[in-house]
């Protein structure tokens, strides 16, 4: 499973410690990060290096969201970038876990009613671990293919039989191609 992690380093040492913990939990679940930006950003901050052009970084974030199965965002500093990334994740229909050390109950993010969006307030390492752990367990997408059984009406069965004969493709293959095409249409 691929996870995109978003956050900011306004208080570099404190924020990095929590983000590292999230990464550790992600790895404990056998998942990988879509884009491991934390250590490079931290090094840049320490050396006081500013990025002259942010366009590739914004694009890399959007690309990472598209490739991910789920998104975890630490909204503690509640920035423009966080809003941008959450909106993108919702567009690409990714389950999002938003965590924050500052409660967001009286902010815009608390108005997001999309079922893909989960918000949890955390105070320290222990509850952060539990929150991220629960979210990943609930949203794990297995990397291997999944078995799926379904009932078919006579009409659909007949259609699949005929199409299978005509095209030489198996019935499952025809259904998978249909679903894949529909999913691509929906995701633009």
């Amino acid at each position: 499973m691929i996870v995109h992690l978003a956050g900011s380093l306004r208080e570099p040492e404190v924020d990095a410690a929590y983000l590292r913990q999230i990464i550790e939990i992600i790895h404990d679940h056998g998942a990988v990060l879509a884009h491991n930006w934390l250590e490079a950003t931290l090094a840049r901050k320490k050396q006081d290096i500013t990025i002259p052009d942010w366009t590739p970084y914004v694009e890399a974030n959007i690309d990472a969201i598209k490739r991910s199965d789920v998104v975890i965002a630490d909204l503690t500093h509640y920035t423009f970038a966080h809003g941008y990334i959450v909106a993108a994740a919702l567009q690409y229909k990714k389950p999002i876990l938003a965590v924050s050390r500052n409660p967001i109950d009286s902010h815009t993010a608390s108005g997001i009613s999309n079922t893909l969006f989960t918000y949890k307030h955390y105070v320290g390492n222990t509850d952060l671990r539990q929150i991220v752990d629960t979210f990943l367990t609930k949203n794990t997408v297995h990397t291997k293919d999944l078995r799926f059984n379904m009932f078919l009406t006579r009409q659909i069965f007949k259609y699949l039989e005929e199409t299978s004969r005509e095209t030489g493709k198996s019935r499952s293959e025809i259904i998978r191609a249909l679903v894949k095409r529909k999913a691509e249409e929906n995701h633009g």
Partner: protein
């Protein structure tokens, strides 16, 4: 300037409201001065909330967010005052671009070296300002550049023989004129992309 019905969604942060309010009012005035309409004038409600010391936790954020998203969808242009660079401005800027709305992000803070500078693109323009006059001029220029006149527009194009023949035959079959057939095709494509 002609008779326009351009609708503009204006958004900003209520976090440092007393500091930002004059600039937000200047944006809205510049919209009206450009013969456009502010889609959802939330400023007076926010002023009253601020005067009455209304608590943020008593606010219906879901309704506000949904109203903002709806306003973006229905507007022709979007203006984001992003000096505070908060979550809501980022969310609305992305949403505006997603719905293909020309968007102006304006801020009193330098954007160089920040995430916000990386979101500029075909539809998103980012400008810094320091005075109300500068702000008004930027907004007016943006609206002028992106205004679509109310009346229908004349459009000429070259057709190859094949397309011309198709339009002529379809016009003959359906009784519709060729322009109508092309317009309907484009409208269908617009619907499909929604």
């Amino acid at each position: 300037m002609g008779n326009f019905t351009t609708q503009v969604h204006v958004t900003g942060s209520a976090r440092q409201f007393s500091e930002d309010e004059p600039y937000l009012r200047a944006i809205m005035q510049a919209v009206y001065d450009s013969h456009a309409i502010v889609f959802r004038n939330w400023l007076d409600a926010a002023t009253s909330r601020s005067k009455n010391n209304a608590r943020d936790q008593d606010t219906d954020w879901e309704a506000i967010l949904n109203d903002n998203i709806e306003a973006i969808k229905k507007s022709d242009l979007v203006i984001v005052e992003a000096t505070q660079a908060r979550f809501s401005q980022g969310l609305q800027a992305y949403t505006a671009a997603r719905y293909k709305k020309p968007t102006l992000i304006i801020t009193r803070n330098p954007v160089k070296g920040h995430f916000i500078s990386g979101v500029a693109g075909k539809l998103i323009t980012i400008k810094e300002y320091s005075t109300e006059d500068e702000l008004r001029a930027t907004v007016a220029k943006f609206i002028k550049q992106n205004t679509i006149p109310e009346k229908d527009l004349r459009f000429n194009m070259i057709l190859d023989r094949r397309i011309y023949k198709y339009l002529r035959d379809t016009s003959y079959e359906t009784g519709k004129n060729k322009s109508q057939i092309v317009r309907e095709l484009l409208e269908k494509d617009i619907e499909r992309r929604k």
